[in-house]
Amino acid sequence: MKKLLLAAVVWALLAGTALAAYPEKTIVIVCPWGAGGGTDRVIRAMAAELEKLLGQPVVVENRTGGDGAVGHGYGAKARPDGYTLTCTTFELATMHWMGIPSAPTFEDYEHVAQINDDPAAIGVKTDAEWKDLAGFFAWIKANPGRAQFSGTAKAGIWDLARLTLMDAAGLKPEDALWIPSSGAAAAIPEVLGGHISAIACGIAEQKAQLDNGELRALVLMSAERSPAFPGVPTARELGYDVVYATVRGLSAPKGTPKEIVDLLADAVKKSCESPTFVDFMQKNSFAISYRGPAEYTELLSRIDADNKTAMELGGYLKAGQ
């Protein structure tokens, strides 16, 4: 009888805690990209803030592979209890268009919040003959097929960005060549060494070279000028309505209770205002751009549609889609 009573008490306690406020154990954030990369660094800084706010350990787990499909897929299929979250990135809106089997789409998640974005910029060597975008595009038009861009893999985000911009300027996709690279870090020496004409990648990735005057950014594909680079004109100012940026955010698996999503969104919002986080982001020139659950979902759905158009331009869209 005593035992039964004890069991009942224990059960009641356990049940009580289960109903108690989320979170009550370690939260894992799946990062689909490698340790030490931009996404990893942003999400680790965010995890440290969330840990302070939520009072439970927040651990980042890198599950890389398949151009982001492995980590994104793992996170989408996790149990929707708010203890396994995913750091979703821009590629969520390209992977499935590329025909990657098992790649999730933005519809497979309850999105929590956007944390950061990094708009695309086109950079050339400071001593290059092109002083502005108009000059560069005029040269491409006069010398079709001679310009060489690099910045990421073929059909990667920055390839799509420059395709969209070239299209807006009336240039054909084949007027310039895309040299595939494993990322911006591998492409920058190519530009500095004079082996290719221009780099297209996030402006934060070119910061060091822009600051010390080795690269010149011709255009920034964002709605407004960047406070960090006030001298770089936006595409809109130059007459092309093109906005292209990579995004990073936090998402939960489909079916996660709304209360948990809202609680997390609130925590992310507070973290985005925390002095330590703001300081970290500023020093690394990662722009903080918070968007709540509804806005982040809407943004991803818009990017998804934009990417389809851009991939059609480059001829990357897999048949049947």
């Binding site: 490698g34 599950r63 492995v70 098992s102 790649a103 500095l192 060091a208 020093k283």
Partner: protein, 497 residues
């Protein structure tokens, strides 16, 4: 203002030493790479004063790369990719009963190699960085071929089996996403393979697990203590005598390490192989390589630590990290307000002086920290073999999983272990397979992207002085033996006349 004497405060030296021990631990654990060690320490340094934070980050990168050599020597499992070349002679030497000498050589040569790398960074960085910028796909293609040619050097006397092994590695490297076209190759719908067969699990399986299988196949070995011989470390005097005897090998390897490390497209792993090959090629006793010779231990271990200093060169001069570790550290430096660029070397701000001092002292501190690590790790060798080999298996399983939390890697590791076991049976060398796997992608991608750039014109691959030099070196690699004999023969004949 930053005060440079702050480096020598206890409040800096304490965390510095601790983080180096941490780097040692991570680096010595197979599958946990030096990049991971640095990525884990960086968030902690945000709460430290600049020089303390930087000393922790630089200390970790130095000790983690060195530490990869410890399990390579004791258990035949390279702790980090940069240590793959270290298994060849270090482990053979341990098997012969002397684990003290290779480990001591590892510590001192890592430290000396590292110091040479840092000195190059301080004094000739801008020139070397300009040179590195001249490398593009055409030059990297030949560098890859040059590295692959090392497999021919690695297995003299067994050339055909060596070539088969290297070819197998190159074939395995074709699995995964094709960077040039973006298509998937040979992945059979398994997205976990889309990034290709990662060579870390292959390396762990092929070297570590195959060794376990070998012992299991001959159970009479199990009852013995893990490794015969004394576990005492030789006196420093004896170790320095060995280093002095091979001072040219140390110097050559350190320079090769620095130069290859400075190339944004190649790192410590390639540097270690190339310097091993170069040491064998120039040695008076090349036949001893692979059987546990001193030069075979010295060359890769000097080169991989020198490559750290090398990787800093393009990072500080242009803001281009030479490898993934440097990428993480560079991020931390920018946090502290450091602006990479050619100006760094002209202005010589207190901050830059601080970084140079820290980088140099980290290499010196590697010696005491390294010996602490060795003493801890060598306890393993005192255990009976049946315990040690269970540990090897455990390390292999955990290490291959921990790399990216993926069970496929564990499967690949086990498959590589079985393959390695049978390769041993056929006396087919395993090192060329690893080389093929590392360099296969480098050769293929650089060739195809180079062709894309040149518009299908092959002459772009030869019409450049760097390409020509590399082709000449490759030619020497294959034909220096017969060529020397030919010259010798001609000389003799001329004298007779």
């Amino acid at each position: 203002m930053i005060d440079i004497t702050q480096i020598f405060n206890l409040s800096t030296l304490g965390p510095w030493m601790l983080s180096m021990l941490f780097g040692l631990l991570i680096g010595a654990t197979p599958g946990l790479t030096a990049t991971m060690a640095v990525a884990l320490i960086v968030p902690i340094t945000y709460y430290m004063p600049p020089l303390t934070g930087l000393s922790m980050v630089l200390g970790v990168s130095a000790s983690a790369i060195f530490a990869g050599d410890i399990p390579a020597t004791c258990l035949r499992i390279p702790g980090t990719p940069a240590s793959a070349a270290a298994v060849l002679d270090s482990y053979e030497m341990t098997k012969k009963g002397d684990s003290g000498l290779p480990l001591s050589l590892d510590v001192y040569c890592s430290s000396i190699g590292g110091m040479i790398g840092v000195l190059c960074l301080i004094f000739i960085a801008p020139a070397l960085a300009k040179f590195a910028l001249r490398f593009t796909h055409f030059q990297y293609f030949w560098l890859g071929i040059f590295g692959l040619s090392m497999s021919a050097i690695l297995c003299q006397g067994n050339a055909l089996l060596g070539v088969i092994s290297a070819t197998l590695g190159v074939l395995l490297s074709t699995i995964g996403t094709d960077l040039t076209s973006g298509y998937y190759r040979f992945i059979f719908g398994v997205m976990d393979l889309a990034d290709g067969i990662s060579f870390i699990p292959v390396m762990i399986g092929m070297f570590g697990v195959s060794e376990v299988l070998k012992v299991v196949a001959r159970p009479e070995l199990l009852s013995m203590t893990a490794l015969p011989g004394s576990t005492k470390l030789p006196p420093a005097r004896k170790v320095f005598a060995v280093i002095w005897r091979h001072r040219l090998t140390v110097l050559r390897s350190a320079i090769i390490g620095t130069v290859i490390g400075a190339l944004p497209g190649a790192g410590g792993d390639v540097a270690a192989w190339v310097s091993y090959g170069a040491a064998k090629k120039t040695s008076k006793t090349p036949e001893k390589f692979g059987t546990g010779c001193e030069e075979g231990v010295i060359a890769p271990t000097s080169a991989n630590n020198a490559a750290i200093g090398g990787a800093w060169i393009p990072a500080l001069v242009f803001g281009i990290p030479g490898d993934s570790i440097t990428a993480v550290v560079l991020g931390a430096m920018i946090m502290y307000g450091l602006q990479p660029g050619p100006m760094i070397f002209q202005g010589k701000s207190e901050m830059v002086k601080g970084i140079f001092t820290i980088a140099f002292i980290s290499q010196i501190m590697l010696i005491p920290v390294g010996f602490i690590g060795i003493r801890l790790f060598r306890q393993i060798l005192r255990m009976p073999k049946n315990v040690v080999f269970v540990l090897v298996l455990l390390f292999s399983l955990v290490g291959s999983y921990a790399m990216r939390n993926n069970y496929w890697d564990v499967g690949i590791m086990l498959a590589a272990g079985i393959l390695g076991f049978y390769m041993d049976h056929l006396s087919m060398p395993q090192a060329p397979l690893i080389l093929g796997l590392i360099l296969g992608n480098m050769v293929e991608n650089n060739f195809r992207i180079g062709m894309l750039k040149s518009g299908g014109d092959y002459t772009w691959f030869i019409s450049d002085p760097i390409c020509a030099t590399l082709i000449f070196l490759i030619f020497l690699t294959y034909f220096s033996g017969p060529l020397l004999r030919l010259c010798g023969g001609l000389l003799k004949r001329m004298r007779k006349r």
